[in-house]
């Protein structure tokens, strides 16, 4: 009787520990993905806001604004300034599955804008974990 109760309590305790550990890990992963996505989005939107113009129609997974080029390569978002070495904007623990730019260039009939969409997930994510998709639109403010 005593042994049975002890075993039940131990099994329940172990299940609790496993659940807590899994949740903690999941929350950390989610936070990491959010921070990476937010940082990359802030870098891109800031570059567009500070640009003097949007000379070409944004299209595809690469955007060049002035001397800065943002692109998707090897599951990460990269920034290249003036053709120098690439800087990785997203954490190595985060996998970027989609980066797309669309919008319009500056013209005599329209103020240019850039619509940005990116999808990220943990590099170690299980298939059940939903990816994070960030979508926004930004224009130059100069």
């Amino acid at each position: 009787m005593g042994v049975s109760i002890f075993v039940i309590v131990m099994v329940v305790g172990l299940a609790v520990v496993v659940t807590l550990t899994r949740n903690r890990s999941k929350n950390e992963t989610l936070s990491n993905v959010q921070q990476s996505g937010n940082l990359a989005m802030e870098m891109i939107t800031e570059a567009v806001e500070k640009a003097s113009s949007i000379p070409t129609t944004p299209n595809g997974s690469q955007l060049t604004i002035g001397t800065k080029t943002f692109s998707l390569s090897n599951d990460a978002i990269w920034l290249t300034i003036s053709g120098l070495a690439q800087q990785r904007l997203t954490s190595p623990d985060v996998k970027v599955t989609n980066l797309s730019f669309s919008g319009a260039a500056d013209s005599a009939t329209i103020k240019g804008y850039v619509t940005i969409e990116m999808t990220l997930q943990s590099a170690w994510a299980q298939s059940s974990e939903a990816p994070l998709t960030l979508h926004t639109t930004v224009i130059s403010q100069l």
């Binding site: 005593g2 005599a108 926004t136």
Partner: protein, 163 residues
């Protein structure tokens, strides 16, 4: 004189005491799980809040883009493109961002703007209110969505001036 082993008086827990103790332990463990589940739910809501904030910023930017396009064309923003933007007559009315205006422009319409990501649907609404005559407009973008049966929203406010 020594007592024999059979005469020793062992003190032990009664069944009621054991059941009571186990009950307390299970309640404690259950509470821990409940607290961490709340943490996990909050993490998911936080994720959706970040998505909503970006959508709201995009909606505000659309209003700014419309104003600046009016500037580029040299027209009054109150007479700008009747098919997509009539803030003068729509003041105070809830509008929805749209990207299907003529000439690849952005604008607003009366139809709901919904975006779905991973089975979560976000609805964007924009309210445009004229201030100081029609030279300043208050733009309020609200993005709403449901998580775990509860409604959530993110609101972003900005003021645009006809500079």
């Amino acid at each position: 004189m020594l007592k024999s082993s059979s005469q020793k008086n062992y003190s032990s827990f009664t069944l009621i005491e054991v059941v009571f103790a186990v009950g307390i332990i299970l309640i404690f463990l259950g509470s821990l799980i409940a607290i961490f589940n709340v943490g996990t739910k909050n993490a998911v809501v936080s994720k959706h809040r970040l998505q909503a904030a970006n959508l709201a910023r995009g909606a505000v930017e659309i209003a700014r883009e419309v104003r600046d396009t009016a500037k580029v064309r040299g027209v009054n923003w109150n007479q700008m493109d009747a098919d997509c933007w009539l803030p003068g007559s729509l003041s105070g009315v809830i509008n929805h961002p749209r990207n299907d205006c003529s000439g690849n422009r952005l604008g607003f319409s009366a139809n709901p703007d919904t975006l779905t990501y991973n089975q979560v649907t976000f609805t964007r609404q924009v309210q445009i209110i004229n201030l100081s005559g029609s030279d300043t407009k208050k733009i309020t973008a609200t993005v709403s969505w449901d998580d775990y049966g509860q409604s959530h929203s993110v609101t972003m406010v900005t003021y645009l001036t006809n500079y």
